[in-house]
Symmetry: C2
Subunit: 437 residues, 2 copies
């Protein structure tokens, strides 16, 4: 144990008055040893709050460096869903040891959640809820809230169940507060509430909470029995995580799943190498295309000068179109049935962009390289922009048809496909205009 | 008016039993005329709920197609913050006309919000709140909640103010429900609550609600007087929008700001053309580099065969690294002071990736094009991957230093910068190994 000496005084002072959110933020920027030392300076209550808000990867790191009784205390006081998230990150042996230290009740709760698939509603729900019965009066319901409230996930959105535990309604705490004490709760509850199933994808669940402005959504099993609640704060975390994953994929990496500075360079390289290799292999197509036209390049060397520019512009057009379409699909603005409409739109947008770029590029190329080459470059720009916009929109739409997440269609993937196609177009146009073989 | 005839019967039936979220989703996929017709079939109450959840662009479209008294009714019942969002989208003349039809109170509320800068806390807050006084008992506070609750933004997070309207605490409704009736509320409130200022950026506000798991955060003016509350449902919408903007920028487009299918192809082209032109102009650098080495290309045509492959791999490496760094900066995992640490990490990751790709590519190039060219291509791959990873990480970090949003550093922007630099490296290595000029 580090005894707080003269050196740690200012830090300790800052820690004692700073807000939890700030402490969490600062801790995540420290090196592991400093982090563990700073964490030990926190008061018991502050340590509990800070631990709860830390990313699972830092929680796990602290678990390794704290005494067993401290770990038990921290983990025991966590919400079951947060605990399940932490356990999902830890080596199985450590999970076993920590789990064994918990009370039977908390062991059961955590085991239940870990039984559901990763990224499902069941995994992120909180199984400790208060359920009311339809026959209760508002007064009785409020008494139940006062009695059980402090131990459950939330009292702001309260489920109502029948005698078999099946969900029959939801009410909000404000409904109870605003109602007369002797009203029956089936008169104030919403009897057609939103609900999700245990195996439903967590992103779908989060988007439902967002679209319907809910504070919590009930989770039911295959027999419509209530098994937990997903609260809005967990939904926000899910959306933030999914955003990170989508952005990583947009740059052709696998999501790291943990903070950047907390992973080794081998893990970073690992998250990128597969895509990089796949794209490099796909890019060998461009070598083949160029080999096929080597004779032309030999005759007119200046043709090669425009290769990076032309495929660059094409790649950018494709990336723009893919990004727009992927996003529109993610938030359900576009569906598979809009396929032809989207392709037709993107073809026109690409043509428009190609015409603009070609119009501006024509004069300088003409002046420096002559009329024929200017014509080749201009026509190629128009064709490549149109082609790239269509390809960029087609790739995510096709991905969805064959049940692949459209978000894996990254800008680099589109660029690579467009590169080879763009070169073919370039040489076809050059051959036609310059009459070379 | 369309009279509901035989044809619209099934639609009307579906509309009358479907959930608001589903109706909203379906409406957004219809053509404008169908959408207006379907909307008119909704019951008054359903129309109000659906209208509230529609994107502002569709709200505006409906405003154009409905009778003036219907519009007045719909707009009057909106929350002030949602109304401010809608008005931000509408032509000024229409805003004036609609505003004039509202009650004085609603006019004042909306005017207040529109006075704050776009994307600020003041713009998205709800100015209709219930504020308690510190001296009140819990019983009095609950009575105030019952009386005023139905008219205010939320009763789940309740601000406490002093006689000058300055924020001195926050409490949650559950605190009131769990407390004894005769306790004073300054005993149950949090007297160091999170707060934001009217001009603070909306994304910062939303991330605070997420990090601290708040249901609402109070907004104060420059004299710490309470002026409104930002609720968690608005925070989720903000995060979802920012996500869309970041993804658009990652693909080098300006965000459309409205649903893809609702904008004309000219608007789509407009959102892309500036970046496309800037990148095309930057890409002319590659033409200059190649011109400078035209003599080498003339001597060894096969050098040109690998140009798209090499700059493609480099561009992909750069995009991967930029995406990772931009994301880590957005969620505050990385800051400016981590600059050198990040560059050093990315240099090693790039080197690792370059070695991997080169190792796999060496044999086929050797077999097909000989030892010397294989050496040139292999060394270039290693150098370009390292360079690209460093450039990809540097660009967003530099952007932040000069106070530009790192998110504008798109994969295409990185690719374009890496293209020219990669070519220089390629020819330098080729000259050294092949001894050509």
């Amino acid at each position: 144990m580090v005894e707080p000496g003269a050196e740690t005084k200012p830090l300790q002072e800052w820690l004692s008055q700073a807000d939890t959110v700030e402490v969490v933020r600062e801790l995540q920027h420290l090196e592991p040893i400093e982090r563990a030392a700073a964490f030990r300076l926190l008061s018991k209550e502050a340590a509990r709050e800070v631990f709860e808000q830390l990313e699972p990867v830092y929680q796990e790191e602290l678990v390794q460096s704290l005494r067993e009784d401290q770990v038990r205390e921290l983990v025991e006081s966590m919400e079951p869903d947060d605990r399940a998230r932490l356990f999902g990150e830890m080596p199985a042996a450590v999970v076993q040891r920590v789990l064994a230290g918990l009370s039977q009740h908390e062991q059961d709760m955590t085991g239940l959640l870990l039984g559901y698939p990763a990224e499902s509603a069941g995994r992120i729900m909180n199984p400790e809820f208060l359920a009311l019965r339809a026959g209760m009066s508002v007064q009785e319901a409020l008494a139940a809230v006062r009695r059980r409230g402090p131990d459950v996930a939330t009292v702001y959105a309260i489920p109502v169940t029948d005698e078999h535990g099946r969900l029959i309604g939801m009410l909000e705490l404000e409904d109870l507060v605003f109602a007369e004490p002797d009203e029956r709760i089936d008169q104030v509850m919403d009897d057609e509430p939103h609900r999700v199933h245990t195996k439903q994808d967590q992103e779908e669940v989060a988007r439902l909470l967002q679209a319907a402005d809910l504070l919590a959504v009930p989770v039911v099993d295959s027999e419509e029995r209530l098994v937990g609640l997903v609260t809005v704060d967990d939904a926000m975390d899910v959306l933030a995580n999914e955003e990170g994953e989508d952005l990583a994929r947009a740059g052709a990496s696998e999501p790291l799943g943990r903070p950047y500075l907390s992973v080794s360079i081998f893990q970073v390289a690992h998250s990128r190498v597969v895509w990089l290799m796949l794209l490099a292999i796909a890019a060998t197509l461009t070598v083949n295309v160029l080999s096929a036209f080597e004779g032309m390049l030999d005759q007119i060397v200046s043709l090669s000068l425009f290769i990076p520019l032309l495929i660059g512009v094409g790649g950018n057009c494709g990336a723009q179109s893919a990004t727009t379409v992927i996003r529109a699909m993610a938030i359900d603005e576009l569906r598979g049935r809009d396929f032809l409409r989207v392709i037709y739109r993107e073809a026109r947008v690409g043509l428009l962009l190609g015409l603009t770029v070609a119009a501006i590029g024509l004069a300088p190329v003409w002046l420096l390289f002559g009329r024929s080459l200017a014509a080749v470059v201009g026509l190629t720009l128009i064709a490549v922009c149109t082609l790239a916009s269509v390809v960029g929109a087609t790739m995510p739409l096709v991905a969805e048809r064959i049940h692949i997440d459209p978000a894996v269609v990254s800008a680099p993937a589109v660029t690579t496909v467009v590169d080879a196609a763009g070169l073919l177009v370039y040489f076809a146009i050059a051959r036609a205009i310059l009459a070379v073989y």
